[in-house]
């Protein structure tokens, strides 16, 4: 067993255990943290496959942004776990059976018999100067520019949809209008009142 294989098994074990923990553990915050752990180990495995850019993006985007947001949601919302678990035992036999069948099928199909090294050549590694990110960028903006643009449109639709579904203009909300704020004249805010200066009162005199 080479060093790399050892590292692979090390990370895969953690990945599998933490993935199982995500769905079995009862506390949602702990489950989210286990998901973070599984993202980290998955990115380590990608690193082993020399996909540095993807590995870094996984950590940055999923761990750094998505999961933090998710933790916030979990903490903010009062999720009734008992209601979520309702019907678990009722659906378990059928769901379990289908899951088992799928696992057996996948084990039969996806093994080394069909996808082993005898069918596919071992991909060669790259030299130390090879930049994964540059290669991805090259592909993304040339060969794959069309799907890249379509993906951009999908994100635009997501923005439009999110705003359309969540923005409410409530009646009577107070908000600032910057344009009227900056176009304000002195006269409309400050009223100068001319008045005679007064003599200090007797009480102030006594104190002084």
């Amino acid at each position: 067993m080479t060093f790399e294989t050892g590292v692979f098994y090390f990370f895969s074990t953690i990945l599998l255990l933490s993935a199982i923990a995500v769905i079995t553990i009862r506390n949602p915050v702990q489950a989210a943290l286990f998901l973070v752990l599984s993202f980290f180990t998955a990115s380590a495995i990608w690193m082993l496959l020399e996909a540095e850019f993807l590995a870094i993006t996984l950590v940055l985007v999923y761990v750094g942004a998505v999961m933090v947001l998710f933790l916030f949601v979990v903490m903010m919302l009062d999720i009734n776990l008992v209601r979520l678990r309702e019907g678990f035992w009722r659906y378990l036999p059928l769901g379990g059976l289908i899951a088992l069948l799928l696992v057996i099928e996948m084990a039969l199909v996806l093994g080394a018999r069909n996808f082993g090294l005898s069918h596919f050549a071992l991909p060669g590694g790259h030299g130390a100067g090879y930049s994964n990110t540059a290669a991805l960028g090259m592909q993304l903006y040339t060969t794959y520019v069309y799907p890249f643009e379509v993906a951009a449109v999908i994100l635009l639709v997501a923005i439009v949809a999110a705003i359309a579904l969540t923005m409410r203009r409530r009646k009577g909300t107070k908000y600032q209008n910057p344009s009227s704020q900056i176009s304000v004249q002195r006269a409309s805010r400050v009223r100068l009142v001319k008045m005679e200066s007064e003599k200090p009162s007797v009480a102030a005199d006594v104190k002084g």
Binding site: T142, V150, V157, A161, L165
Partner: protein, 481 residues
């Protein structure tokens, strides 16, 4: 590495649509609520310009960016049909939306984005663009169903559609990844080449991927046993959105089937034929039998859709050009019928009244003989009564299945379309022989009146002269595969 930007002229329709949609998105922000009709007109112009670009730039088949964008006769014809059905949907839906406060810029923008997704899907020659087009379309739909935020049923329908749609996308992607793993390419033409040339042994991994892909596809068109979302979405969604989901995307789904199964996996025809046979039989049986029990018109139409999709699958599984073109013809006819049926629900609805129960159609003949006659034509077409177009569509599909040797399947389909005739004719009975419960006058706008009349009469005219549309379908299939 050298990369040369291809001539982008064949993509002009999509680019024009994107540019106009983005313009409408921004322009709409500066429009007051009472002038929203300007957006409405702009959206219609966008559809017309897109259709014009399709006609103007049509030519021989071309592929851009590898095979990611394919423009052939089938793509052009389907895109034009999509444009036409979106335009008709706009006309039918405007009054309904205005009365319910849904006549907003987002509605038009999301519709146009969904239309763009369909066009990308229709033109896709690569797993990546197939999937992206599908997601662009589906994402717009999820949002559109939930657009009426305070309506609990619409939100529930959107949630169901979203969750099940995500599941189906997962199945589809898993299948695609399997096909990629075996053939080593995401390009549909190269996948076909790898399979046909015998470079890849047809074994368990390939069929395993195929099963997942077919399941994902079946979900998208709503064939049994992947049909659960259709009745809930049709019933829960606002009627114009249900009309939209029930019409134009079916063309995209048809193209999806053709590109993936016939274009890419024709080498596995024996394997997917069996799956389609099972789904087709179940769809025709379950759809027609369950529709009888419905009291909601939209829900009934949902089950009727399921049975119609069974007929379309019947055409596809025949595995020859006649079968494919009859399936395409059936899809076109189905969309025209659906437009008519949903359009009638919209036409009869008014403020605070949906007109989506079967009882709401009682005595329609006494209220308006002309619209009752139009709906009668649509219902006859759905049941497949000659001389309406529905008869010819069913006939063409059944003929193709018979030629492919599926005698028992044909007999079964005929038997269950007789069962299906019951609930279509029940509508006719309610309209002509029952006393009306609703007495409000029916006074739609002029354009709705015109389009509804054309839509109803199309059932008759296309039924009497089926050859023109049929030869268009045959031509586009012949020149694309």
């Amino acid at each position: 590495m050298t990369f040369e930007l291809p001539n982008l002229m064949p993509m002009l329709p999509e680019m024009a649509l994107l540019a106009m949609t983005c313009f409408i998105l921004i322009f709409d922000l500066f429009i007051q609520d009472e002038n929203r009709s300007v957006t409405f007109v702009l959206a219609q112009i966008a559809v017309f310009v897109t259709a014009g670009c399709i006609v103007g730039t049509s030519g021989p088949s071309v592929s851009l960016f590898g095979d990611m964008f394919t423009r052939d006769a089938m793509a052009d014809v389907l895109k034009l049909m999509i444009c036409l059905s979106v335009e008709i949907m706009f006309i039918y839906s405007s009054t309904y939306l205005k009365l319910r406060g849904l006549f907003k810029g987002e509605y038009f923008v999301l519709t146009l984005f969904a239309m763009m997704g369909m066009m990308i899907l229709v033109s896709a020659g690569h797993f990546l663009t197939l999937y992206l087009g599908l997601e662009l379309m589906a994402l717009s739909f999820y949002a559109m169903i939930a657009l009426d935020r305070d309506n609990a049923r619409a939100t529930e329908a959107a949630m169901k559609y979203f969750v099940l749609g995500a599941l189906a996308s997962g199945l589809l992607l898993y299948g695609m990844s399997m096909l990629y793993g075996v053939t080593g390419s995401l390009d549909i033409a190269r996948v076909a080449l790898a399979i046909d040339s015998g470079q890849v042994a047809i074994g368990a991994p390939l069929v395993f991927g195929l099963v997942f892909v077919v399941a994902g596809l079946a979900f998208k068109i709503g064939a049994v046993p992947f049909h659960m979302w259709i009745p809930d979405v049709y019933e829960g969604a606002p009627t114009p959105i249900a009309l939209f989901i029930g019409t134009a995307p079916k063309f995209a789904a048809f193209a999806f089937f053709m590109r993936l199964l016939i274009g890419g996996l024709h080498g596995l025809v024996g394997d997917w034929q069996q799956m389609l046979v099972v789904m087709s039989v179940l769809s025709i049986v379950v759809g027609n039998v369950t529709a009888i029990a419905q009291t909601n018109f939209k829900r009934m139409l949902a089950y009727s859709t399921i049975s119609h999709m069974g007929f379309v699958l019947l055409g596809i599984l025949s595995g020859n050009v006649a079968g494919y073109s009859s399936a395409m013809y059936y899809m076109a006819v189905y969309v025209i019928m659906s437009l008519g049926a949903f359009g009638m629900v919209l036409l009869l609805s008014r403020a605070g009244f949906e007109s989506d129960m079967l009882d709401d159609f009682k005595g329609l003949n006494q209220r308006s003989p002309w619209y009752a006659f139009m709906l009668l034509l649509v219902m006859f077409a759905m049941a497949g009564v000659p001389p309406t177009v529905g008869f010819y569509a069913k006939f063409a599909v059944l003929q193709a299945a018979l030629q492919a040797g599926y005698v028992w399947l044909t007999v079964l389909a005929v038997l269950f379309s007789v069962v299906g005739a019951f609930y279509y004719l029940r509508i006719v009975k309610l309209m002509y022989f029952d006393e009306p419960q609703q007495l409000a006058p029916i006074a739609p706008r002029m354009d709705v009146r015109l389009i509804m009349s054309l839509n109803g009469l199309a059932m008759l005219v296309l039924g009497l002269m089926p050859q023109s549309l049929m030869s268009l379908c045959t031509y586009s299939i012949m020149h694309s595969f």
